[in-house]
């Protein structure tokens, strides 16, 4: 039952381009406590081996594609703020725009929200102003999905990121839009978004990842979501890195009592993308909804690993990951639901659907369960199937060309996920991105 033969021999150097010398230059101007953390992270990064063929958490992954050679930490790009992708336009101006990990533009939040104590700032500001919150929430959760080494790399080399803090009881109607972009060949970026929603607050955060020049880059990013008692977070990430980028992204979601987090990850870019998502349901009444849509084409690989941990009774999680596979692409979905002993009345669902649109595409599904309580409702399912022949025939008989028909059917397939978004504007913007990607 070991991994398949797709694994090749991996690059020899465990640190790649991220040598101690490069790291020493990077450390130069951080506050002392932050520097110590980074140093500890670098030591972990250096000490951990690269993923090996026998690592269950990397089963089916193409290990030859994740070498760290040939990248260098991003430098400040010239030319200031970049143009926002026209396909993804929202009414709200991007609150923060990062280029190569550095703040390039910002739109101040309304005085009303500022008056209520809402903070939308950079991490480097938060390091000085909110060290306690950072200590408590920044990369504070365990790395359980196989990328401890890359998460340590992220922590060691992160330059800046977004910090969103919504105080108790404050509700935001407009989404907070954050743009993380990369420029230059071989640039390594370490985008980060930290969202802390205190008790009974409500916030929507949108991360848009994009490449400014379409060159090959390394994006090693993370996002931490913390929903306090009764809080509600909607998080949308549109991953539109260049098609030559290596993307490694780690998500951690903590859901407290009666809180609700909905996250939707749209994966469109990168030559190889690994996305790890951990949801911890820590108190009764918590609900985590995990959604993802992927368009895999060419010889790209999308490797998604998820973990839903039910740590308290009466919690709920619902995962739906849909992949559309074209060309010679590969997808891997490996999900696990863990129900801790005594987490009775858990309601957990996990579903992976693969739409096979090409003879050479390959889907791998590993939907897993580990249940240690008996009064639960846990179900999972995985399917891989081509377009329904009758539907294709119907569209053909109406004179719709095959490509357009496929596009329609892909949208039909994706709609189940998109329609779960309450915000119509976001829904439309994501559809635009998908259309643009399919047109390419």
């Amino acid at each position: 039952m070991a991994g398949t033969s797709t694994d090749r021999i991996i690059a020899a150097s465990p640190t790649g381009s991220f040598t101690p010398e490069v790291f020493a230059r990077h450390l130069a101007s951080c506050p002392a406590w932050w520097r110590e953390r980074k140093q500890a992270a670098y030591a972990r990064f250096e000490g951990l081996p690269m993923p090996a063929r026998t690592d269950e958490s990397w089963r089916f992954s193409n290990l030859s594609g994740i070498g760290l050679e040939g990248f260098s930490p991003g430098q400040a790009a010239s030319g200031g703020a970049q143009v926002v992708d026209a396909a993804f336009s929202l009414a709200a101006a991007p609150a923060l725009t990062f280029v190569n990990g550095r703040l390039a533009a910002r739109a101040p939040i309304s005085p009303e929200l500022a008056g209520k104590g809402v903070t939308v700032s950079t991490l480097s500001e938060a390091v000085v102003k909110h060290p306690e919150l950072l200590r408590q929430h920044f990369m504070a959760q365990p790395q359980k999905l196989g990328s401890a080494k890359f998460a340590a790399l992220h922590e060691a080399f992160i330059v800046d990121g977004a910090f969103v803090h919504v105080p108790r009881g404050v509700e935001l109607d407009q989404p907070i839009v954050l743009i993380h972009s990369a420029s230059g060949a071989g640039t390594a970026v370490f985008p980060h978004t930290l969202v802390i929603a205190e008790e009974n607050s409500r916030v929507t955060v949108v991360d848009h990842f994009q490449s400014n020049d379409g060159l090959g880059q390394l994006a090693c990013g993370a996002n931490d979501l913390y929903a306090g008692h009764g809080a509600k977070i909607t998080y949308v990430a549109a991953q539109c890195w260049s098609l030559d980028t290596l993307s490694l992204q780690f998500n951690s979601t903590v859901v407290r009592r009666d809180a609700r987090v909905q996250s939707l990850n749209l994966h469109l870019g990168a030559r190889q993308a690994r996305h790890e998502s951990l949801s911890q349901l820590q108190a009764p009444g918590g609900f985590s909804e995990m959604l993802a849509l992927t368009i895999a084409s060419g010889s790209r690989e999308f490797d998604q690993r998820t973990l839903q941990i039910h740590q308290a009774p009466n919690t709920k999680s619902d995962l739906l990951y849909k992949n559309a596979l074209l060309g010679r692409s590969r997808t891997i979905f490996s999900g696990l639901i863990i129900v801790d002993p005594d987490a009775q009345k858990t309601d957990a669902y996990q579903s992976n659907r693969n739409l096979m649109l090409s003879e050479d595409a390959e889907s791998n599904s590993l939907p897993g369960l580990e249940i240690q309580a008996n009064d639960v409702r846990c179900t999972h399912g995985a399917t891989s199937a081509p377009i329904d022949a009758e539907q294709a025939f119907y569209l053909k008989s109406r004179g719709i060309p095959e490509k357009a028909a496929h596009e329609l059917l892909i949208f039909g397939f994706f709609e189940e996920v998109l329609s779960r978004l309450e915000n119509d504007e976001l829904h439309a913007a994501l559809r635009n991105l998908i259309r643009k990607r399919l047109g390419r």
Partner: protein, 478 residues
């Protein structure tokens, strides 16, 4: 003559097929004519080969397998760490009283005969079987096939004999479905295998009654490594059943079999296992069938006993329109881990496979489903359907599901579904209100859970399975 140590207090009145948890719990002190001693090295392998007077190629095959076994790590990166508690140096790899199985019960040595009579084997043979083989530790003690079946050209013997008498058939298929290096335990088996069944069914012959093998471990610290090879020639049909028991010792016992099935064009094989090892047995078995064009291989796998079972019956669907099926029932009680599942490897167009798995976890028992479905590129029209249902009886019972599904191309349909549930409180209430005790209601409910699968068993097995579940459910309530 040997002393009899009887650890069983009550006598079993109607033991059928030996799947009663308690009916296997007795042993006789034996003196063995052949004993390879404890521990495993080249000399152990040579000893086994010499005792069996094997051809040089087999000896070489064994020695190579030993090297493979030694070079492989335990698969603990995905499997249970409990494997590390097996001490391979403390196990006895070969014990037998003689090599030639007896053809009538009268010839079987009294103590061995007593064992099998207690397990009800001769009675069953008279009743409904076409042939029986009974293995006691390393070698078959008894082997018989009904004359009518033998006349059809069906070969049914122990694999030691098979190698000697039919090397031309044996060698052609031996180790081809499960190569030595498939995993650490298949390598171990290849090094020290002894006993097991060898069956050949000629073209077009439909064996009307099942053939049965019975595996019995009697000695402490013993490892049983039977090797079964079944070949069904074109258009033939066969049902084969095996049962396993061992007495309960204080130390761990190892059972590591390799079972290879070959269904040639249009053949049908149904392989039924009822595993009821005692709760100190490590049961690490590799089972795989090779299905040629339009053939069908069906594994019915029922795991009740053992401390740790790791068994994933598989079918390699080699020929067009071949069909593979695994039906798996596992019951894990306190201290038990049933790590079972299925492997379906599609290697031809229009092949179909089905996996249905039902597990029951009682007390602190742990039932795991692990599966592989593989559809490589350049194939058309393959289908797989997998269903796993787990029933958790007590609040701290545990179940896991780890499937891995790989599909290439847009001409296939694959689906996997799993669910976890508990016994419905309403059902229990309803039955109690009709006068059943809570325990009876629970048993009935569990039997209902597996009923659609149990019905596919031969009746004797399905009745016994029900009775056994009643036994296991005793004391699990409250």
């Amino acid at each position: 003559m040997q002393e009899t140590t009887d650890t069983l207090e009550t006598t079993i009145e109607n033991p059928v097929s030996g799947i009663d948890q308690s009916s296997g719990n007795f042993k006789y002190d034996m003196t063995y004519d052949f004993d390879a001693g404890t521990g495993l090295n080249e000399r152990t392998v040579d000893y086994i080969s010499s005792v069996k007077k094997e051809a040089p190629w087999i000896r070489e095959f064994r020695q190579n397998a030993l090297k493979t076994f030694e070079s492989r790590p335990l698969p603990t990166h995905w499997a249970s760490k409990d494997l590390e508690t097996i001490n391979f140096d403390k196990i006895r790899y070969y014990l037998s009283q003689g090599l030639k199985p007896k053809r009538t019960w009268d010839e079987v040595p009294a103590d061995i005969k007593q064992t099998f009579e207690r397990l009800g084997i001769p009675e069953q043979e008279r009743k409904f079987l076409a042939g029986v083989e009974a293995q006691f530790d390393s070698e078959a003690a008894y082997s018989n096939i009904k004359e009518a079946v033998a006349k059809q050209g069906v070969i049914f013997m122990n694999s030691t004999e098979g190698l000697r008498e039919h090397p031309e058939i044996f060698r052609k298929f031996f180790g081809k479905v499960i190569p030595t290096g498939d995993n650490k335990f298949s390598a171990l088996n290849s090094a020290v295998f002894s006993g097991g069944s060898f069956i050949y069914v000629p073209p077009g012959v439909k064996v009307s009654h099942p053939l049965q093998a019975y595996f019995r471990i009697n000695a402490e610290n013993f490892g049983q490594f039977e090797r079964t090879l079944i070949i069904c020639d074109e258009g033939s049909e066969l049902t084969y059943m095996e049962g396993c028991t061992a007495p309960k010792f204080s130390t761990a016992t190892l059972h590591s079999a390799v079972v290879e099935l070959v269904a040639l064009k249009g053949a049908k094989i149904q392989y039924i296992t009822v595993q009821n090892w005692s709760s100190n047995v490590f049961n690490l078995v590799t089972k795989r069938g090779l299905a040629h064009e339009e053939s069908e291989i069906k594994w019915i796998d029922c795991n009740i006993g053992s401390r740790l079972t790791m068994k994933y019956p598989g079918v390699v669907l080699r020929g067009r329109k071949a069909r593979g099926e695994v039906i798996s029932i596992a019951l894990a009680n306190d201290g038990q881990h049933q790590d079972t599942g299925a492997k379906m490897v599609h290697a031809a167009d229009e092949t179909t496979s089905t996996v249905v798995s039902k597990s029951i976890s009682v007390g602190q028992g742990r039932a795991t489903y692990r599966g592989v479905v593989h559809i490589p590129k350049n194939l058309k029209g393959c289908k797989n359907n997998t269903e796993c249902d787990a029933l958790l009886i007590n609040t701290n019972s545990r179940t896991d599901t780890y499937p891995a599904i790989t599909v290439r191309g847009d001409h296939h349909a694959v689906q996997h579904e799993a669910s976890v549930s508990k016994v419905s409180a309403e059902q229990i209430f309803y039955m109690q209100q009709r006068g059943l005790t809570e325990g009876q209601a629970m048993s009935l409910s569990v039997n209902g859970f597996i009923n659609d699968l149990a019905r596919q068993f031969p009746m004797e097995y399905s009745v016994e399975l029900k009775r056994l579940i009643d036994l296991e459910m005793e004391g699990s309530v409250g």
